[in-house]
Each structure stands twice: as structure tokens, then as C-alpha cells.
Symmetry: C2
Subunit: 365 residues, 2 copies
């Protein structure tokens, strides 16, 4: 049995509760002799700020670098609304993404049949939805410089953010999308605002050239980002893989996630480049949902996206597709049995707690 | 009877067809002695490029400046995909917005009861929806400099776009939102990405201060833009007025429009500052939908958003609320009678043409 180093960052809000359930599953996988995990825990977000005065300490960054995979739950909350911009909870997450060079963010939006009625969309529009948003995660307006607020005097300030993309950044995220599409339904939709943004012009040009050169067998479409947002609402099932930049990816993946009615169910993976020699790569896995401070500490949170994130780690970091499939089946299994945390139960329906959901998935395994 | 100068720009695709119907209504309003219009027609978008080699000529810009209101249908289409960035169809629209200083874009998203079933959302989620997106239209990443593509050599290019916002720009769009909210349900949701963007930090700060100083009676909420996108899908009826920047406004207003299932129904207004002396202001009115090149010239397009845009001109430029209300009632009237263009008819239902829809609205008036 191979043993992997897992670095877990529970973060803020419901983070610690849902992470505890993922750790339960990881511990069981080890004790059952399926895959070994050495687990270390660190602090990120507001939790790190409260202890270290920064959103992630250098020591924890070093442990993240050394790990085979990082699991993160969620960061942020109103408690830290007033802290300086540089050390706000989100800064910890952004530093992890940037310093580990996790340029490829994979965000599946899947509609679980048992939950189709939880969607605000009509069943026929959403049932069977299975798309993957591939979001560029280390470039664009999130990190471009200058990024500052200038005092102009007279009570006037000027805020500046800069969207920057280089050819190689677009190309490598494009490759991830085309490769994934080949294992799925062989369709990629690339999205930008080339009618308004120069980065959109370059994005379109690079993806088009890459497609012609290396992936002519994959079906490629281009959609303006606003129009893609509309199409997601109108006919989401037309999409297979969507590739887009950091900011559009942030917006579009949240809309896509919400379509499914299963926001508490959706995991994500953030991947770095493969080491040419070892084939290994840095990776961080986290739920798509946030820290939900309003329900924190009450045992109400849904741990499925967090457990699914562990599943994605098995798939994308450790090549254990069969174990990952088992976890996915266990999740479907508990849903089919009608077990629901509050977020996915219909009004007036019976619900179970965070820990009960974790236990149920474990039992199913 | 006062007479106003209306400058109409049919543009591309279905533009000329739907504009013809709005002009029919305008001509009738004049002949019926309700309000006088002197109509001049110009070229914008691909249509202008084909004649002048530019997306709008200086002469037409001058006529737009001189008009009491501009009506625009739609620009763009695959025919002009290859033209240089500076003269692409959208450049005409962007020049109009910038040179006329139309900083406030009002985009209502209304779900017509007769059309609620055309939405991809469940009826109970969408029925009765009536929100207004107030989008900043002359700033942000649409116009900020530098905006360029640099050749780095070795097959590498770097694309740069710049998001810039000054305090005064945020303040004046904030005022528009708060004033509008007072005439509606007294609620404003402001949206940005303050957790990632400095412009979001300043946006939040300026709106918060403006609210405390001049609009404490209006209810104000702040939403991160990704989260607002989710809430639009989940519970759109919680919103009254949404105020946001140029790029987020582009995305969010398209998502909101699509929720209603009535994209072909939604008009928009783009307004400049009021002249302190005369009270007049520059204004452009256009449908939210695009130029739909795939159905152009076939008499299939829905002219209602275009006719509604004329209605908005009556309301916001000429203070003729009663006439605008009459137009809105006429539109509801034809819908209640079951008349439908193809875009809003259910599958297999009977449809009428663009011109028939215009005539039906005229008859209803
Ligand atoms: C927390 C925040 C910085 C983050 C982002 O904007 O990327 C989040 O919204 C996400 O999508 O992972
Ligand atoms: C045509 C395009 C430049 C425009 C925009 O991005 O503003 C359109 O999408 C809109 O929303 O009016």
C-alpha cells in the first residue's frame, strides 16, 4: 500500500465540520488497506489570521509544497470583514493557488438525479447535466499588476486592476481542456469577451491555433462570456467542457453550480503542471461552495462536496480511479436512500447532520 | 405637440427588421398627434463598416450628439469576424456610449406572466420577476488603458486590459441606482469582487459611504459578483435594483434577462448626465438581445424589445410616462391574446412574423 502525504486546511466557517468527515473517510481508506494517508493539518484564512496575523503562514505554505495533495475546505466570513486587504482570508487561498502554480481549476457541474428537483430550473432542462468548467487559475485580473488604489486628492481615489494573459498561459489551460474533452464527449466551448477585451482576442487566437495544430479531432466552439452565461441558463446540457479565464471562470462556474441545485455537492480540483520526470503534480482540492458562516458549528453543513474533493484527489493526484468511483457510488447510494442534509432536503423533509452524512457514506463504502 | 429628434441606427442582422416596427409606432404617435418625431437614420456596426470602413462615421456621431434620443437595434455578425479590432461592429456601439457619456445603463428584467412558461426556470421561481440592473457603462475594463497586445518574440504575445474606476464614476452610478430604488421597492444590491479586485474594494467603499450620507432610507446589500450570479439563478425575486460595474453588469444582466425566458422582450436605456440648466440628457435605447444573424431577413425576429426601447425613450427622455405605459399595455395586450413570434412561442405553436407583431401592437394602441 502506497502512502501519500495529505495536507488538510479546514479554514473557516463550516470548514472544520466538513473536513472532519473527509478525514474520517481518509482514515478508513488507510485502515482498510486501500490507500495510505499521512495527514497533517494547517491553518488558512481567518483561522490563520487569528493565530498568525496572516492568511497562511510560511510554515504552512512549506508543508503545502511538500504534500502530495492539499485538501482545503473554505475560507472567509464577516468576522474578518475589517482586516487589511493583504491578509484577508481569501489571500491565503490565492497564495496557495499562485505559489503552488495551480493553473488549472476543474469544476464539474453535475446534477444528481436524486436531487434534480432541488434545482430552480425545470427538471427536463437540468436532469442529466454533466459539464466540466476548466478555469485558468493563476493569471488574469486576479494577479495582474498594477493592482492598487491611488489617492487623487479632493476626496477622489482611483482603483486599478490589470488583466494580463500570455500565450503560454492560454495554451496550457487549453491543453487541459482538450485532453479532458477527449475522455468525455469530445466537445470544448471556449469563452471570452473578444469583442471588448484584448485578452479575449488573444485567448480566442491561441485556443483556435492550438485546436487546429494538436486537437482537430475535438469539436471546438467559441462563445462570448455573456452569451455563454445565458446559454448556461437556457440549455446547459449542450456543453461538455468549458474553458475560460480566471474571472469569467469564477462567475460561470458558480452559475453552473447553482443550476444543478446541488451546490453543497460539488468538488473541485486545482492542478499544477506535471513534473516531466516523475509525472507528479501539485494539487489542491476544495468544495465549490463557501464557508457559510451563518450555519457554522451547528452540524447543518453538507460534507458531500468535501468528501467528493477527496475523491477527486484520488482520481487526479493518485490515479486511483476505481477508489474514486467507489466514493462517487457511495455518495449516490446515500442520496438514493433519501438521506439529506438540510441544504438538499425539500421544505419540511427529514434531515440528517453533517456527521451523520459522513457516517452514512462511510457505511455505504 | 412637442417634436423630438430621434436618430435611429438599425445596425446589423435582424436590426433593420425590428427597427422598422419601432418606426411604425413612432410614426403613428406623430400622426395621432400624441408626440412628434423627426426621424433621421444612420449606420452603425457592420453596416457602417461596409460603407465607411469604420463602425460609425463622424457624421453619424454628430447626428447622434444632436438628437434628443438615439434608438439602436443591434450590431455584429460573423460576416465581420475578420475585420480589424478597431473597426469591428461593436466599436460603433462602444463609441456611442463613450462619446455621448452614457454612463448609466438601465436593464430591466421582467417576466411577462403570459411568457412565464418560456423560462427554463420553474414558474414559481420566476413568475412576477421585476428587477432592474443598473450597469456602469463608460468605465472599467471596457475603456481602461493600457489595452493592448504586445509581441514578446518566440511566438509569445502578452494581452493587457485595464480595469479603472474613479470615486466619482462609482458615486454617480450609485446615485442613479438609489434614486431608481426609491421609486420602486427601495432596495439596492451592489455587486463587485472586493475579495480579489481593488476596484471592488473602492466600489464597495464608495457605495457604502454614499448610502450612509444621502440614501440611508434605502435598503442596501453587498454581494460578491459570483455569489450574485448564483442568487439570480436561485432566488431572483429577492432583488429590486442591482448596481454593478461595466463587465459584471454585462454578464449579470444577460443571465437575468435569460431567466425571464423573454430575452426578445427586454429593452434597455443608456443615459448621460442631466444638463443642470435644461434638465435634458443624452440617451440611447436598445434591446438587450443581439443581432441574431442566423434568423436575419426572414421576418422571424421579435420586435417587442425594440418597441419597448422606444417606450423607454418616452419615459426617460421625454417624460411621457402615460404614453410609455400605453405602449407597455399594448405589448401585454397582444401577449394576452396569444400572439407570439417564434422565439416566445412554445414548440409546435402558431407564430406570427416581425411585421405582424408590430401591426398587432399598433392595432392594440
Ligand atoms: C474566495 C475567492 C477568492 C474565490 C475566487 O474568487 O476565486 C472563490 O470565489 C472561488 O471561486 O474559488
Ligand atoms: C456588443 C457588446 C460590445 C455589448 C457589451 O459587451 O457591452 C453587449 O454585450 C451588451 O451587453 O450591450
Amino acid at each position: 500500500m502506497t502512502t501519500y502525504k495529505l495536507f488538510v486546511l479546514p479554514g473557516d466557517g463550516i470548514g472544520p465540520e466538513i473536513m472532519a468527515e473527509a478525514e474520517k473517510i481518509a482514515a478508513w481508506l488507510t485502515s482498510a488497506g486501500i490507500v495510505g494517508f499521512e495527514i497533517e493539518q494547517g491553518l488558512v484564512g481567518g483561522a490563520a489570521y487569528d493565530v498568525h496575523g496572516t492568511a497562511i503562514s510560511d510554515a504552512d505554505m512549506a508543508r503545502a509544497e511538500a504534500a502530495d495533495a492539499v485538501l482545503l475546505a473554505a475560507v472567509g466570513g464577516p468576522k474578518w470583514d475589517g482586516v487589511p486587504y493583504e491578509v484577508r482570508p481569501e489571500a491565503g487561498l490565492l497564495r496557495l493557488r499562485k505559489d503552488l502554480a495551480l493553473f488549472a481549476n476543474l469544476r464539474p457541474a453535475i446534477c444528481y438525479p436524486a436531487l434534480a428537483d432541488a434545482s430552480s430550473l425545470k427538471r427536463e432542462i437540468i436532469e442529466g447535466l454533466d459539464l466540466m468548467i476548466v478555469r485558468e487559475l493563476t493569471g488574469g485580473v486576479y494577479f495582474g499588476e498594477p493592482k492598487q488604489i491611488i489617492d487623487l486628492g479632493n476626496g477622489q481615489k482611483r482603483a486599478i486592476d490589470t488583466q494580463v494573459y500570455d500565450t503560454y498561459e492560454i495554451e496550457r489551460i487549453g491543453r487541459v481542456a482538450f485532453e479532458l474533452a477527449r475522455k468525455r464527449r469530445n466537445k470544448v466551448a471556449s469563452s471570452e469577451k473578444r469583442n471588448v477585451m484584448k485578452s479575449g482576442v488573444l485567448w480566442n487566437e491561441v485556443i483556435t491555433a492550438l485546436h487546429a495544430r494538436d486537437y482537430p479531432d475535438v469539436q471546438l466552439e467559441h462563445h462570448l462570456a455573456d452569451s455563454l452565461g445565458m446559454q448556461l441558463v437556457r440549455r446547459p446540457k449542450q456543453f461538455d467542457v468549458i474553458v475560460t479565464d480566471n474571472l469569467f471562470g469564477d462567475m460561470l462556474s458558480d452559475v453552473a453550480a447553482m443550476l444543478t441545485g446541488s451546490l453543497g455537492m460539488l468538488p473541485s480540483a486545482s492542478l499544477g503542471e506535471r513534473n516531466a520526470k516523475t509525472g507528479a503534480r501539485k494539487a489542491l482540492y476544495e468544495p465549490v461552495h463557501g464557508s457559510a458562516p451563518d450555519i457554522a458549528g451547528k452540524g447543518l453543513a453538507n460534507p458531500i462536496a468535501m468528501i467528493g474533493s477527496l475523491g477527486m484527489a484520488l482520481r487526479y493526484s493518485f490515479d486511483l480511479n476505481d477508489v474514486a468511483d467507489r466514493i462517487d457510488r457511495a455518495i449516490s447510494g446515500v442520496l438514493d436512500k433519501g438521506l439529506r442534509t438540510a441544504d438538499i432536503a425539500g421544505a419540511g423533509k427529514e434531515t440528517i447532520s453533517t456527521a451523520q452524512m459522513g457516517d452514512a457514506i462511510l457505511a455505504e463504502l
